[in-house]
Amino acid sequence: MKIKKSIIHSFLFAILGSFIQLQAMAQGSAIEQASIPGATRENPEVEYPARDFSTAEEHYNFLSEQANGGTQHTMSTIPVWDGLWSVGYNSMPAIFLVEGSMAIAMRPGGEVREGILTPAYEEHFRARRAEINENGSQLYDRLTNCEYPGMPRWLWEPYVKEFVNMPNQSWMLNDFMNETRRIYINAEHVNIDGKHSATGDSVGFWDNDKLIVWTKWINPADYLRGMPLTSNQIEIVETWQQITTVEGQRQLVTQVTFYDPIGLQSPQSAVYTHTASPDLEEFGARIRNWECTTSSNSFQDEDGRTFFRLPGDPEFRDPRGFTDFPDIPGQSLNPMGQ
């Protein structure tokens, strides 16, 4: 009985702590935003497409027609999503795991949902989950070798983001692996590179305060560590909207549909959120892009797991002292005198 009380107290303490943090983050916004009744910071519902679409293009064109070609904003009318943002809720793990959530997405547990992925992708996903169950964690992640996570993993990665909307482009900046998405407004897809990229090619249009985005030509990657692979044919339709939750929190809600004819048996939808984070600004945080030089002390060892090169290893790179020119003054990554 004492144990049960202890657990209950711990849960209550954690829940209380969470709400205190949320309240602390819920600071006033200078921007007028529509308040969506019933919306909460943590659990917006997935909004599925109005009907089934076989391709992202078909879905995107339908939304464009619904919006009569879209809203042509000017700099004075375009929605402003200023400040620093952090990721919040996302429902993506529930696509692939029975009762899936972020609490188990990268951790042991969870039952793979059948019939969602194509056979080759489901087989790989089952093997990945088995590895997590056996070792407590996925042994190796592409980030170890500074491979870009790209889309759709970009939508959740838990670091610092900024969003800049302009009439002809929207920029979505993430300190994570220096990944910046550019959304070309009222434009056609262009690929003079003849290849795919981590974040793909994104076009979009505005439907009043909603930004609709269609992304294609994305490198094959993962939905997330612990989640399935995506194929090089994935295309994604997103609808972004800033809301103010009932708690007073500025939130970006992104309704997403994945079209992956190689990896998925049928299109799948999820919702992701970002929350405005004035606490980061109060700390003095500014986006500092990742220095892959310092993360490249990570490597994949002979057992297939992520490991580190340590001081004394000839290949170790001192994260503050590293330089290719040690004999020239002022060349180390050490301006603070350490």
Binding site: A14, V160, D279, N289
Partner: protein, 156 residues
């Protein structure tokens, strides 16, 4: 012990309720032995407040009494800041006690859980591999922070 483990589990699960506050490293944590915590006392050599991970390097004795460099991985900058840590938290030359989850290989490195500074204050630059607030409380309550350097506590 069962009570401790269940309480700890409950606190970890509870912490996930604050979804926007996740602190998960950019890479897998499979290299760390999360069944153990170890205290290492030494002198700060370098504090690298870097993305994607912060690193604290200290000079401390190994099992043979030889002074060597130990490295401890912490959270990305944004997560460390949310836990009250920034680029000036540690200074070269200061004495610290690092409580960490050791590498499974046994090499002189690990995942920082929390750090006790010379004035007794606790700094929490840890990544999601450890609930530093809860663990610091456990270590303080048990008096483990006075343990000799290299002492290891088994969490099982």
């Amino acid at each position: 012990m069962k009570k401790f483990i269940m309480t700890y589990t409950a606190m970890i699960i509870g912490s996930f309720l604050t979804l926007g506050q996740f602190a998960l490293g950019h890479h897998s944590f499979a290299m760390f032995d999360n069944s153990k915590e170890r205290i290492i006392e030494g002198t700060v050599m370098r504090w690298a407040f870097n993305n994607p991970h912060t690193w604290l390097y200290i000079e401390a004795a190994d099992e043979n009494g030889e002074m060597i460099t130990w490295g401890f991985e912490g959270a990305a900058q944004v997560h460390a800041m949310r836990q009250g840590v920034n680029g000036t938290t540690f200074q070269p030359g200061e004495r610290v006690k690092v409580i960490m989850l050791p590498l499974v290989s046994g090499e002189p490195a690990g995942a920082m859980c929390f750090v006790q500074k010379e004035d007794g204050s606790i700094a929490r630059p840890n990544d999601g591999v450890c609930d530093s607030e809860a663990r610091a409380s456990v270590w303080q309550q048990n008096g483990w922070l006075n343990s000799p350097s290299l002492t290891t506590y088994d969490l099982d």
